[in-house]
Amino acid sequence: MNRVRAQGWVFWIGIALALLLMLMPLPALIQPLKPYWPALVLIYWSLEATDRVSVGLAFGVGLAADLLNGALLGDQALRLAVLVFIVLRFRSRLRFFPMWQQALAVWLLLLNNHVLQALIRAFAGDAPMPALSWLAPAVGAAVWPFVFLLLDDVNIRLRGKGAKAT
């Protein structure tokens, strides 16, 4: 019980941090390269804890991100729902990939996400995204091993502590 609750805290804090990181400004030169943090965190949790992540939850997180970001309402909700759906569908395979293959899969997922974003922006009549931003999925894939190891480490520590406590 204790462990589950602790994992819940880590889960929500992770998502909140991802949303904050999304809002945080970077120097203008590397701004378009910023990886899409909420997607990375959601991918991790949908690989590790299916009982926590569902398409509906991804939709909710996306709506919150839209509200914060001030972009079109429903844009990120749609993209995150699609992303989590794909991850959950291929979860059993993705989980046992070696790290480099997993990073490759993350790159494809983020690239798909980016294509969807470009399409939605085109439909809404917004200006096209900066060309450099097409490298952002690759940066996300490069960061993925670190995100995975960090979250996994926190997760395993909690699990150990929870087991001792109960």
Binding site: P25, L78, A127, S133
Partner: protein, 318 residues
């Protein structure tokens, strides 16, 4: 840990249910997007939740602030920093006044007309600071730390000490969003300060460039010309610097020239900005003449006045 995972492995019937659920969510998202695009729901939702959201922006902007403060922390004297900030704000205001003065002087020289400078120079402005968050994937909108409760309203001009930055497009109770002049959706009516040639400067999405399209091939413009707001259209007051012509080239059709303009405002660097309180003179028919004669409420007192009583006391009787 292994057992519950096995239980949650999807069976095929689950998979179809999952797909249906996904389709439902996608439809919901599409409906939301269309409604938001048409009605601007997002703005209403943000306005309603602003009390919770604005602190989040402040938290998100905090690390950038810390980095900035770490630079000034060498002085280690908060007093010094405060004084510095006050002086900078004063300087900003003074510089903006000076700029304005400059443009008006030049206009005077060119037109050889007496202008009502008294009215033009009385500038009411409000200081605002940028909240450093990134709105959307591009950098052409900024968030300011004053909002509807401080008297900000949509359409106000935003300037820095060097020129026009943009205009307010959305207000929250204690924050507001400004669209910069470089936004591709933004246009400013401008005039060449040297010759008076009119044009419209559009944003390009590039922080270092505006473009003034559709100039006649014969028009008298050259690189280095100053562009100032013309005041036409009734949105921006006249005479504020917008930019400097960097380059002239023929447009795609070859029938017209377009001027590439370097914005005057320091869009990447400005930390404090001014919001102009004064709206430009409204364009349209003059206001109806005020009613002449005594107000209607005094009509019944005519009799009282004929009896020799003053109108005020007659009004006070009932």
């Amino acid at each position: 840990m292994a057992l519950p995972q096995k239980e949650s492995t999807p069976i095929f019937s689950d998979a179809t249910a999952g797909t249906l659920r996904l389709i439902a969510y996608l439809a919901l998202a599409a409906v939301l997007m269309v409604l938001d695009h048409r009605n601007g729901w997002l703005h209403r939702a943000r306005y309603a939740t602003a009390a919770a959201i604005v602190p989040i922006y402040k938290i998100a902007a905090a690390p950038a602030d810390w980095v900035h403060q770490a630079g000034t922390a060498f002085a280690q004297r908060s007093k010094l920093i405060d004084e510095n900030r006050q002086l900078r704000e004063a300087l900003l205001l003074a510089e903006a006044r000076l700029n304005r003065m400059h443009a008006v002087t030049r206009q005077n020289e060119r037109l050889k007309l007496l202008l009502d400078t008294q009215q033009l120079l009385g500038m009411h402005a409000q200081l605002a600071r940028l909240i450093d968050v990134q709105l959307g994937p591009t950098r052409d909108r900024v968030m300011l730390n004053v909002g509807a409760n401080e008297g900000v309203h949509v359409g106000q001009t935003v300037i820095d000490s060097h020129g026009v930055m943009g205009q307010i497009i959305e207000t929250l109770p204690h924050a507001s969003v400004a669209m910069l002049v470089i936004d591709p959706d933004h246009a400013v009516p401008v005039t060449v300060a040297r010759t008076g040639l009119r044009g419209i400067a559009h944003g390009t999405g590039d922080t270092a460039q505006l473009v003034v399209p559709n100039l006649p091939l014969s028009s008298d413009v050259k690189a280095g010309d100053q562009l100032v707001t013309s005041g036409l259209g009734g949105r921006f007051p006249a005479g504020f610097p917008v930019g400097t012509v960097a380059q002239l080239k023929r447009d795609a059709s070859g029938m017209f020239m377009e001027a590439l303009v370097k914005p005057a405002a320091e869009l990447e660097r400005s930390g404090e900005v001014l919001l102009l309180r004064d709206q430009p003179d409204p364009i349209g028919p003059p206001a109806p003449a005020p009613e002449v004669g005594p107000p209607a409420s005094l009509a019944p007192t005519a009799r009282a006045r004929s009896q020799g009583q003053p109108a005020e006391s007659a009004g006070a009787i009932p």
